[in-house]
């Protein structure tokens, strides 16, 4: 089982500090890298150059952008709901940091190793929606409110297939591993795939597919980017945010992508397990591979309409994920 920071460092206060600094640093670097990757990937798909000027292949472009956002004036519109408006960006951002600290990057490294890791990840994921709705409501802008309304409906709906598909894996792990195993523990899920020698995507392909689709919707990515559909709602819930406040939403979006991709890596693609290369390398290769697939989809497909999105979730995804869970349960019982 992985050693956590709390076990490695004597003082608990120091451990927390190291953990927060580590996660924040990793997330910042990750967001900067992902934005650059998104711009390069979209440019490649659209036969453009993408950023080229700042640094080699434009890698420093996102750093320049971040500095620009940091130095920009924070515009506060009139007639807003002040507390909601100001707390919202923070409330969107903090759960993301908390959720990131729960992952096993390697056989031996993890910030925290909790028995209910999976539950916490989804719980923190669900918390972000509160911030989004506060932003939409507090902005005193009809577009922002429409975006927030859509966002709430969408995220609550898509959380159901997301969790149900993850649950099939948990069920399977618990049955296969005997009484000692805990399928909610992310490290144990990865460990089991390593021991068995195959990835769970092979035994749970339907769950993996449902998870991927629902994850796209959870992170508000195209073709489900309805809450911020720029051709209809300008920028959706964050229309009235500028400067660093906007950057926090932006940051949270990319961090969320990273989190759902990490969950997919652990649940379906064997986590850190893989030949030759060290564990963290495999973990990040797989995660970024999934993130790249999400980008690829964004730059290829048009956007669904809101009612189509909801009916797709309730009529197709949820029944299918329940069915998948039932089948898993029966097979697990039989075997």
């Amino acid at each position: 089982m992985p050693e956590t920071v709390t076990q490695m460092v004597d003082s608990p206060a120091l451990a927390i500090l190291i953990g927060i600094a580590g996660v924040m640093g990793a997330l910042t670097f990750n967001a900067l890298f992902l934005v650059w990757l998104e711009r390069k990937a979209s440019a490649w798909i659209q036969r453009r150059m993408g950023p080229t000027e700042v640094g080699p292949f434009g890698v420093l472009q996102t750093i320049a952008d971040m500095l620009k956002l940091l130095s920009k004036q924070l515009i506060t519109p009139k007639h807003i709901d002040k507390p909601l408006y100001h707390i919202a960006p923070v409330l969107v951002f903090v759960p993301v940091v908390a959720a990131t600290s729960l992952f096993p990057f390697d056989e031996h490294i993890a910030l925290s190793n909790l028995d209910i890791g999976l539950v916490l990840v989804f719980a923190f994921g669900g918390l972000g929606i509160v911030g989004i709705f506060m932003a939409g409501w507090g902005s005193n802008n009809k577009y922002a409110l429409l975006g927030a309304m859509r966002s709430v409906a969408q995220n609550i709906s898509y959380e159901i297939p997301l969790i149900l598909s993850a649950l099939s894996v948990v069920l399977m792990v618990n049955t296969m591993g005997g009484p000692e195993t805990n399928g909610m523990n992310l490290a144990q899920v990865a460990q089991m795939q390593h021991d068995k020698g195959y990835w769970f995507v092979l035994v749970q392909p339907v769950a993996a597919l449902i998870y991927f689709i629902a994850a796209l919707a959870e992170t508000n990515r195209a073709p489900f980017d309805i809450p911020e559909a720029e051709s209809e709602l300008i920028a959706g819930f964050h229309t009235e945010y500028s400067g660093m406040r906007f950057a926090l939403f932006f940051f949270a979006e990319y961090a969320n992508m990273f989190i759902v991709a990490m969950v997919a890596t652990v649940l379906f693609f064997g986590g850190w397990s893989g030949p030759v290369l060290p564990g963290p390398a495999w973990f990040f290769i797989k995660t970024y591979g999934i993130v790249f697939a999400m980008m690829w989809i964004r730059w290829t497909f048009p956007r669904l309409r809101f009612d189509q999105l909801m009916s797709f979730c309730w009529m197709i995804l949820i029944p299918l994920s329940i069915l998948n869970l039932l089948v898993t349960a029966f097979i697990a019982r039989a075997v």
């Binding site: 659209q46 051709s231 209809e232 290829t300 497909f301 048009p302 956007r303 669904l304 309409r305 189509q308």
Partner: protein, 375 residues
């Protein structure tokens, strides 16, 4: 105005007013839609226009007939060539000027290339309206080829003043013919690519099929023309029904569909690109040698008092020019009948009881150009 709108929203409670445009990132040009909504469903829609009014018709009354020529391509900047040539042809009809054969052929080529570029731009923006960002850049790339070809012979990329009364400013050469042939070849492959990337996409079909139906009866009442009318099953095309120039010499079809939805409008425009490519190919094949201007071009003239009406098929539909002369060097009145104005007029009826997400898609699908509406 703002206060009034706020009050209305407050008074009715559930029903609220949303102003879309004129400053909205994906509204076409400076159109403003005043929407009354319950939730996301539109109860009433009103198009507020006039934000790009430049008084082209009034300008015409203050300058001589030739001086109005550069104005024409600025009315609809996306099919400027067609508008520019239409004005030349209208004046030629008024003055009964003979146009040399070669000029007639080049006019056909330039006009049809312009129509292709306009339809390509529509394709890109329409798919972008429903959220697909990549096809836009592909269409833009193709359009760029047309602009390069036209830039070489006219000197401008968007607002052409290529026509003259009786002919054209510049002749074309072998390079132009070669470039155009290369473009025709290229487009054949590209249309297949668009079919795979856009037309066969499930989400695209879901977003377009049965959305924004403008049936033939509605078209008739509002005077909707162009691809929008042909998508409703009416085979009306000025090039076929009242052939102008030398369009009667070419072999092309007027595609029609009956479903009248956004998907049909997409299909019609793609097939019109194919037909235009056919026309350009035929014109290049038959292009005769000879002069491109009459021996004695008219520079200063005073048309006899009277009126002339001349119509062409612009990229967006029936474009008519009504010229009134009082016998002086300046027009007494030039009335422009622009297609998008009528096409937009049908929108309040079409938008009723649709979703917010479909507004942009439907308004995008009828292909409006705001400066052409406001003039």
């Amino acid at each position: 105005m703002l206060e009034e709108i706020r009050d209305e929203g407050a008074a009715t409670g559930e029903r609220y007013v949303l102003n879309m445009g004129p400053q909205h990132p994906s509204m076409h040009g400076v159109l403003r839609l005043r929407l009354e909504l319950i939730g996301e469903e539109i109860q009433e829609a009103e198009a507020v226009i006039g934000y790009a009014h430049r008084a082209h018709e009034k300008m015409a009354e203050n300058r001589t007939w030739p001086m109005f020529l550069p104005n024409t391509s600025r009315v609809d900047y996306l099919s400027g060539m067609i508008y520019n040539l239409a004005y030349c042809q209208a004046v030629e009809k008024m003055l009964e000027i003979e146009v040399p054969e070669r000029a007639e052929y080049i006019r056909i080529i330039a006009g049809e290339l312009n129509r292709i570029s306009s339809h390509l731009l529509w394709l890109g923006t329409y798919v972008m309206d429903i959220g697909g960002l990549t096809p836009f850049l592909y269409a833009w790339d193709d359009r760029e080829q047309v602009l390069n070809i036209l830039e070489r012979i006219t000197g401008s990329r968007l607002t052409y003043s290529y026509g003259r009364f009786g002919g054209l400013t510049m002749d074309v050469d072998d390079v132009f013919i070669k470039q155009t042939q290369v473009f025709l070849e290229r487009m054949k492959g590209r249309l297949v690519e668009y079919d795979k990337l856009v037309r066969q996409n499930v989400i695209f079909i879901k977003r377009s099929e049965g959305v924004g139906i403008i049936d033939a009866e509605t078209c008739r009442r509002y005077g909707v023309t162009g691809p929008n009318l042909r998508a409703a099953g009416v085979a009306y095309d000025v090039r076929k029904d009242e052939p102008y120039g030398i369009y009667d010499r070419f072999d092309f079809e007027v595609p029609t569909l009956t479903t009248a939805d956004s998907l049909a409008r997409y299909d019609i425009r793609i097939r019109e690109i194919e037909e235009s490519l056919k026309i350009v190919g035929q014109a290049l094949r038959d292009l005769p040698e000879g002069p491109i201007m009459p021996d004695k071009p008219k520079k200063k003239f005073k048309p006899a008092a009277g009126e002339t009406y001349f119509a062409v098929e612009a990229a967006r539909g029936h474009f008519g020019m009504y010229l009134v002369s009082d016998g002086s060097e300046t027009p007494f009145k030039i009335k422009l009948r622009t297609p998008s104005f009528s096409n937009l007029a049908a929108m309040p009826e079409v938008l009723r009881k649709t979703m917010v997400a479909d507004i942009i898609a439907i308004v995008g699908s009828i292909d409006i150009v705001l400066p052409e509406i406001d003039r």
